[in-house]
Amino acid sequence: MPKDHGIGAPMKRREDVRFLTGKGRYTDDINLPGQAYAVFVRSQVAHGRIRKIDTAEAEAMPGVLKVFTSADFADKGGVPCGWLVTGRDGQPMREPKHPILAEGKVRYVGDAIAAVVAETPEQARDAAEAVIVDIEELPAVIDMKAALAEGAPLVHDDLGSNLCYDWGFVEENRAAVDEAFAKADHVTTLELVNNRLVPNAMEPRCAVGDYNVATGDHTLYTTSQNPHVIRLLMGAFVLSIPEHKLRVVAPDVGGGFGSKIFHYVEEAFVTQAAKVLGRPVKWTATRSEAFMTDAHGRDHVTRIELALSKDGEFQAIRTETHANMGAYLSTFAPSIPTWLHGTLMAGNYRTPLIYVNVKAVFTNTVPVDAYRGAGRPEATYQLERVIDKAARELGIDPIEIRRKNFIKPDQFPYQTPVAVVYDTGNYDATMDKLIEIADIAGFEKRREESAKRGLLRGLGVNCYIEACGIAPSNLVGQLGARAGLYESATVRVNATGGLVVMTGSHSHGQGHETSFAQVVADMIGIPEDMVEIVHGDTANTPMGMGTYGSRSLAVGGSAIVRATQKIIAKAKKIAAHLLEASEADIELKDGKFSVAGTDRSVAWGDVCLAAYVPHNYPLEEIEPGLEETAFYDPSNFTYPAGAYACEVEVDPETGKVTVCSFAAADDFGNVVNPMIVEGQVHGGLAQGIGQALLEGAVYDENGQLLTGSFMDYAMPRADDLPFFKVDHSCATPCTHNPLGVKGCGEAGAIGSPPAVVNAVIDALQRGGYTHVTHIDMPLTPARVWAAMQR
């Protein structure tokens, strides 16, 4: 029998009641009295010089309150970048200004040039069409290598180059790595593209700005994964509003996948426009705007080399990656291809020498930033693809070559050659589990059965590791982060015993309201419905860093544990007083404080009441009330890991790939709510399979987004996916956070693309298409068919 509540229980998500019955309250559901509407005039060309913006006609149109251009923001800052990467030459990255509205130049299709605010959305849209923008179109740079060529048009003239940075990691290892390659028995090389993705959260972005003329208070309601970060960035760097005069609220948010971490210009715009006009101002993205302006993900072009001994021992890895930054630096963009990518290149293996080179490049495309996995999928994909290719070249079974190189259970903590220390793991165990749940032994029989139907069946296996629980603040500070990455919680106990937990994390699909409540309820021994989780409002939550990087339970949950521990410690003091016993003898179990070894006890609720009605209370020793705050700063990342297997059928006549089965054996450490964990894995797998087979943002050579709608951008649908077999029983709990948890939000999206591609290559190889050693994602029918023809 599974537990029915507390840590480890597969409790149904409490938030689903409101989400499934249409009772969620999203940003676009917020309508303030007197609210006006903003529509942006966006660039239709990828690169151009703005000669003139004529707003006269638009300004005269019915309902128009004002047409804004960059001139209205002359005294405001640009949207800042939150991470400074230093190049191999010791120089800081090139960092352009990202103005709220374009200044002088437009740099991608969708770049905001002007904005109309009117009484109704329709009036604003009509007037936006009437704004006349005279643009001198300039040649656009879309391809990263072309952008770095001599004489290429410059995205930012003042930077003098389209190279943002050229980063080497670990630079000191470079010579040793080169030497290992020179001496290696075998070198496997693979060039690949990690395809650019459009995040496509179900809820498009939305922002409502409000200003109270009497008090000078600003409020921004926004679709954000981290309202405190938005408040800090926008207040301090863009609009010069101190935190105490700025409240940021991120209510229910319909999915983010990273794209709602970043501070976007529209947020600053509505906040400032509300002040200028003395009216609340709302902007809601259309789906087309979401495609054009939400920060995209991935977009790496990589060459990876693996040096091996002849019996398949990994000796060294060398990579060169071009990473697309787009036209401006989005909030965390520089960190994704560097610290979230290079540090994972050891994977689950003992490779002693690794060198990673990354060139980040500006192009005339929408900015690229974190997307579910953020850097770690890119690392995993290239590593697990090159291992597969090497295994084939050396004639070694792909599972065996991985096992041979695994970091073994007795080697933890394990210092990798790429800076991080894995605290714990057991990669053989997850591989054994995978072999069992994927029924690898039965593959050959299934392959024969597929062959009878004229289809080529293939099996792809891979491992992954990720660094989650982002992140130790002092460490990331050294690496260039311009923020701390702790998390916070305030636990407020009410007089009659119910609790409100105010977390700095933010839930936008992860189910925090359910699993966080399970943690607190379990610690005190009370039912979950006595615990309310509050998040998303800077006015009532402590300064927190938000939700991304599978950090919420590992970091935010740890802060909640710490705050709850403080609550329990104080409550024990009160209980000791009430029971006239020594504090050391007080035990808390099932919501009752008792004196050890006696039958004397006092209920949780009575202790809480005493704290707020302190008639019989040790006032000379402790304060009344029962409310505690904790900030938790992790001492290391967490390292979820696992092994995935995918089986596909390829139709040799059309190139169409069907995913027949997918199995995932994950080590997430301890699990608070197994049902939520499974759901997270399912969603991640769907996204990873989507990346592998369907999704891909494509710009033409002029910078027009060809995949600007769902008619051309293929999202995975239920019938594209098999039933998933998922398992998380091989748990090696995290050693350095109080819950022993590692995080599960991104694993599926990180581990699955190489499994799918490995499976397709396997199918083609077994089917006699031995010249096909790689196909770039997405593996559309047309691409697979074309690869087979050569």
Binding site: L693, L694, V698, M711, A714, A782, W785, A786
Partner: protein
């Protein structure tokens, strides 16, 4: 969307009168027209709904055995109503879009739009159907005149489609992964006097008849009859979902599969 007037007549006559107004357009299921209006790519001043006109709706059987489908009949209704009498077009209709699209979108709207990737043009041309309008009857061979272009005059509306029922027929559609329209689709129909093969999704000229295959299948209506044939990639659509060569390949593969299905 821009502002527009909306009328919903209950007779064909009233509809035609309403369509004579400036910049008036018929609205059937709205599955194509409404999205383009939302994007402000279409801006009719009057929308004349055809969905309230009983004579434009439903499926019946003519004296000569032809299956007659009212232009404003939805894909979903066609899928239901023709399942027993012309299963190949029932299957075609049932494979369009998703349930929401099938329960709004109509055969008349699809034909008037003549999207080069739409399914109905293949079913209609492959069946050698007749398109009946408020003024005349147009043979399928004369109706489709290239991508998004038809023989319809301004203000002319499709009222009915008459399908002769073949001895055997089938539609094989290879879906474009994103839109799930036909990346290439083949409709084959075997009549007493010959075989018709219509291909959608592949050609820059829109739906077309593959005469070579018709001939080969006329001699022997079997999947193998298609094997030796090939289609030139010249004039095939090339886009991010497939090269002209890929589509040329699909023409053969889908035709073969349609024939196999029709056996």
């Amino acid at each position: 969307m821009y502002n527009f007037d909306f009328v919903k007549p209950t007779t064909l006559q009233d509809a035609i009168a309403a369509l004579s107004r400036d910049e008036a357009m018929p609205l059937a299921g709205g599955q194509t027209l409404i999205p383009s209006m939302k994007q402000r790519l279409a801006a009719p001043s009057v929308l004349v709904s055809l969905t309230g006109i009983p004579e434009l709706k439903g499926v019946c059987r003519a004296d000569d055995g032809a299956v007659c489908i009212g232009a404003a009949t939805t894909h979903a209704e066609i899928a239901r109503e023709t399942a027993a009498i012309y299963p190949a077009i029932a299957a075609l209709a049932g494979g369009i879009g998703d349930p929401a699209v099938r329960n709004r979108g109509t055969i008349g709207g699809s034909l008037a739009n003549n999207d080069p990737s739409a399914c109905w043009p293949a079913g209609v041309l492959g069946s050698g159907a007749t398109i009946v309008t408020n003024t005349r009857q147009i043979a399928a061979d004369d109706f489709f005149q290239g991508m998004f272009t038809t023989a319809l005059e301004p203000g002319e509306i499709i009222t009915e489609i008459r399908f002769p029922v073949p001895e055997a027929a089938a539609y094989a559609k290879f879906e474009q992964p994103a839109s799930r329209f036909a990346l290439t689709g083949a409709f084959v129909a075997k009549f007493a006097d010959g075989v018709r093969v219509a291909i959608t999704g592949a050609s820059e000229g829109g739906v077309f008849r593959w005469r070579e295959a018709e001939e080969a299948l006329g001699a022997s209506f079997s999947p193998e009859a298609v094997d030796g044939l090939s289609v030139s990639a010249d004039g095939m659509i090339g886009d991010l979902h497939g090269t002209p060569e890929y589509r040329a390949n699909l023409v053969r593969v889908m035709t073969r599969r349609a024939v196999a299905r029709a056996q």
